[in-house]
Amino acid sequence: MSRLSDHHVIVANDIIARCPRPKSALIPVLHLAQEQDGYVSTDAMEHIAELIGITPAEVYGTASFYEMFKFEPVGKYCINVCTNISCQLLGAWELLEHAEERLGIKSGSTTTDGMFTIEDVECIAACTEAPALQVNYRYRYRVTNEDFDALVDDLRNGALDDEIPPHGTLARVRQTTPDNWADTGRRAQEAVDAR
């Protein structure tokens, strides 16, 4: 969709300056892009390549390894239903089917109002609380069909806005770089070169 905003460019350059090699800043800067648009757009990857000084293909090669970076727009809420063995035994497929019916979409797609994306995923490490799902990576345990309906209603009417921010939002309070850190990357590189 778009390149990084002016504000995000400042943050990105700040992150890059902290790394001895600019390339090391790639993942955090990709998160910035996802936070901005809810997904990592082609334009954003090109912009990041410029900022870091690598090719867009390298950015894409790294970014595409990570399931949690999305390259197409996804809903405001990304619902990941675990379908691995424990959840499956305790009704994950039935839950997924109910979710698909309730939202009127197939797993892997997004509702037309842009609110929800459903995905079936591999183990999310909540086997003791199966069946489990995540909403924007916030867990919901022992989910029944009724729980799911209530979750959707709450998300739609904003009851959970405080707990679950829109997809892509990483942290409510971003760490800022102390002023005297701004040069860390360059100084570290100089130390390496001097050796």
Binding site: T42, E46, T55, P56, A57, Y60, G61, S64, F65
Partner: protein
């Protein structure tokens, strides 16, 4: 077939190596050899004691000594990655016998390596079964079938049967990843060769592994194709049929190909190649690994311009001008016509000029130079005012390997990535592997700038001042004093005097007298042609002087031997006046060019791959060029045409005792060259054929002299012009190659974005560019690599004849740029 082109060809593996055989081998080797004096180390490979140089890899040691280890990802010219796991062997170590990846295991003294034990065989078969789990068995319709390392090694080292019954992976197939290369992801075995090549060798990291994990695939960034001047190499090194080249796809099967080793004459690097043909038509070139020159690589122009040989526009019969224009005729009539024209002209001294020779072999150039001698023609040149004076060959000469191992490489000339692609790869490698530091002097940023230790921008013509300033810099002076210095000198700017380069090279020599020079003249065999006698005796008779004489009516005949001044002379106006002013033009060429259209007699010449001989590259290396296909139509090699003409000139014919009189074959001419041309004594036919990497000959040419050069002062309104070549341009060989024709970027004037803004024009607008010579209208573009105050334009591109504004007599070209209309 094509074994020599691919390092991965499986040898006929002996499937039945039993323990008994191994023991027997050990028994045979018990005779104690004395310890050698060198620092080599001892390895026991398959029970036989072998000595290898230290610092190598187990896989190389095994392959060198006849124990073939199958492999896919390993390539001797790239760093090992251990991706494919096919090269598993057993190494005995202190912790017992281990199965290791031989491409990642360094050799060690006393190492015991087994490549054919049952455990190794089982491991290799297992890996192959896994590699084939998702690989389609579409060999009958795959371009690689018949020369495919995976196919070959599945036979030689595979289990024969697969236990996989599941559905294989399917992708859309094939998808173009550039204008020249198609990708078939189903066939890819993820060996990382193409991506490593793009990263390590070419420096164009435009293809990458994406979606790593279960669906790893090689891919470009969306909508950003794999645009690399070296993309064809990825097709050659792909060990499966995943990457295929558009010009070759479905044209032939490898077992139908017939091949001969030769030397690419696309530029002066002289890459070793094989020319492959099917049904008497050249269908593919592949790079051959010559350690001294190209390391197996080629640029895409060199690799794919074979299409021009097969062009239906090739000149196939002689033509003479009649009232109805150029009319096909017979050789006898055409030669008599040409000879008649020449005989009339020769009554007046110095009335015949000969330009060209650098597109042909040494033998071609020699014969034409001899003809020019018997005609008494001093007006001759193998260049067209677009190179440097011949004296550049007179400096102490460096080889490519010497340059790539020098402490400092000084770049004083063209953008090597655009003009001498594989030399760019070699020097980039030298800088990246930290063997050398590049000190670059250039007017604009070049392909090697990102790899330069220091890149110094100078105004066009101001090289000498830049050198003087650099020499007073302590860090640069220390670096130049530190070790071998090689100066790569060529013509970086066609809109400036070549004296600017010579003066700067001389200034460098004054500071570093033990430096050597690698001349970066670009055209195929320009170095050979100059040494064969196609060099002008002085600058009163060089190409520009010849064209000047022609334009003033002082020449009666201009002979163009594969030379096209109308396209290649930087001073377009001079070339036009010359062709218009000379009474007769005799053109010897392979394709119709702007200049052949104006000729009175056109003699069709055999092209590359249609004739044999030798060529001389920019380091003075003489290598052989070999015929693979029948010459087009009735075309003849240039040397033969010179001889044919030289016996028809009456009393100015070759005298009866002239050595060429006895030449029946091109090999005879090679021998005559070796025995008569100074410095070529070592380059006899047998020496060139039998010496690995050819014979380097010295150049017996007086060193260029420079009276110094400083550019005239300029005013603040003008831009100083840089004109240089791109790899793909309007050149005949490129434009007549269907796959390459569209890759030329087209004309344009590139300015620093700040200058574009200052002029008040938008990128894409037409501007008028006015020099003292003329005015052209041209499209403007922004480019941050161009410094402020400089205007850069690519030479010989469609849509803009920037040659019109160049005055070859002026030292530099200043232009006024204004919004058009």
């Amino acid at each position: 077939m094509s074994e020599s082109t691919d390092d991965t060809q499986a040898s006929d593996a002996d499937e039945d190596v039993s323990a008994d055989d191994v023991d027997a081998a050990v028994d045979e080797e018990v005779t104690e050899e004395p310890e050698p004096e060198d620092d080599s180390i001892k390895l026991i490979i398959d029970g036989v004691e072998r000595r290898v140089d230290p610092g190598g890899l187990v896989i190389d040691a095994c392959n060198e000594h006849g124990s073939y280890v199958p492999h896919f990802c390993y390539h001797p010219r790239m760093s090992p990655v251990g991706m494919c796991r096919q090269c598993l062997v057993e190494v005995e170590g202190p912790r017992g016998t281990m199965t290791v990846v031989s491409c990642m295991t360094p050799t060690a003294d006393g190492q015991v390596v087994n490549t054919a034990t049952p455990a190794v065989k089982r491991a290799q078969e297992g890996v192959l079964e896994l590699l084939l789990a998702n690989h389609p068995l579409d060999c009958p319709v795959c371009d690689k079938g018949g020369e495919c390392p995976l196919q070959d090694q599945a036979f030689s080292h595979g289990p024969g049967e697969s236990r996989y019954v599941e559905q294989k992976r399917h992708y859309e197939k094939p998808i173009p990843i550039s204008d020249l290369v198609y990708l078939d992801r189903e066939r890819c075995i993820l060996c990382d060769r193409c991506t490593r090549f793009a990263d390590e060798v070419a420096g164009d990291k435009l293809i990458h592994f994406v979606s790593r994990g279960n669906n790893t695939q090689v891919m470009t960034f969306p909508d950003e194709p794999f645009v690399s001047y070296f993309s064809g190499n990825t097709v050659q090194i792909c060990p499966v049929g995943a990457l295929t080249a558009k010009p070759y796809r479905f044209k032939a099967r490898p077992w139908d190909l017939d091949q001969v080793e030769s030397t690419c004459m696309g530029c002066a690097v002289g890459c070793r190649i094989v020319v492959q043909a099917s049904r008497d038509e050249v269908i593919r070139y592949q790079g051959v690994d010559s350690d001294a020159v190209n390391w197996g690589w080629m640029c895409d122009r060199g690799r794919f311009n074979f299409e021009a040989l097969n062009s239906d526009q090739r000149l196939s019969e002689p033509m003479i001008r009649t009232e109805s224009g150029l009319t096909p005729t017979t050789w006898n009539i055409a030669l008599d016509a040409a000879a008649g024209v020449l005989r009339d002209a020769l009554a007046t001294p110095e009335s015949v000029g000969v330009l060209g020779g650098s597109r042909g072999t040494n033998e071609d150039a020699y014969a034409w130079a001899q003809l020019a001698d018997v005609m008494g023609s001093s007006y001759r040149d193998a260049q067209v005012g677009d190179g440097l004076p011949t004296g550049i060959l007179g400096y102490p000469r460096a080889t490519i390997n010497e340059a790539a191992n020098a402490s400092t490489i000084v770049l004083m000339g063209p953008d090597l990535k655009e003009e001498l692609g594989v030399l760019y790869l070699r020097l980039r490698d030298a800088a990246e592997k930290r063997r050398s530091r590049i000190l670059e002097f250039s007017a604009t940023e070049t392909g090697l700038t990102p790899y330069a230790w220091k890149s110094i921008r100078h105004e066009p013509g101001a090289q000498s001042a830049a050198v003087a300033a650099a020499l007073s810099d302590e860090a640069i002076a220390d670096q130049l004093a530190a070790g071998p210095v090689v100066i790569v000198a060529g013509r970086g700017n066609l809109a400036e005097s070549p004296d600017a380069v010579i003066a700067a090279v001389d200034a460098l020599f004054d500071a570093v007298p033990e430096a050597t020079v690698l001349p970066a003249l670009r055209r195929g065999n320009v170095n050979g042609a100059l040494l064969m006698g196609m060099a002008p005796a002085d600058d009163e008779h060089d190409a520009l002087a010849t064209l000047q004489a022609a334009s003033e009516g002082r020449l009666d005949v201009l002979i163009l031997v594969g030379s096209d001044p109308l396209s290649d002379c930087p001073d377009a106006d001079l070339a036009r006046r010359a062709i218009a002013g000379v009474a007769r033009v005799i053109s010897v060429d392979t394709h119709p060019t702007a200049s052949t259209q104006r000729a009175d007699v056109v003699l069709p010449a055999s092209s590359f791959a249609e004739k044999s001989g030798t060529t001389t590259n920019l380091e003075g290396r003489v290598t052989d060029v070999n015929q693979k296909v029948t010459a087009t139509g009735t075309s003849r090699p240039d040397w033969m045409i010179a001889l044919d003409l030289g016996v028809r000139l009456g009393e100015r014919s070759f005298p009866s005792d002239h050595p060429l009189r006895g030449a029946a074959t091109v090999d005879d001419v090679t021998e005559i060259v070796a025995s008569t041309v100074e410095g070529f004594a070592g380059a006899s036919h047998t020496e060139v054929k039998n010496t690995v990497d050819g014979v380097v000959v010295p150049a017996h040419v007086p060193r260029a002299t420079s009276a110094g050069f400083s550019p005239p002062p300029r005013n603040n309104y003008d831009y100083r012009l840089v004109i240089s070549r791109k790899l793909f341009d309007d050149a005949t060989g490129t434009q007549m190659s269907r796959s390459l024709a569209n890759l030329a970027p087209g004309g344009g004037l590139y300015l620093n974005p700040l200058d574009v803004a200052q002029l008040g024009v938008e990128v894409g607008d037409d501007v008028t560019v006015t020099s003292a010579q003329s005015t052209v209208v041209i499209n403007v573009a922004g480019d941050e690599r161009v410094p402020r105050g400089i205007a850069w334009s690519p030479f010989n591109q469609a849509g803009a004849s920037v040659g019109d504004i160049v005055d070859a007599g002026a030292g530099v070209t200043d232009v006024r740029i204004e919004r058009a209309g």
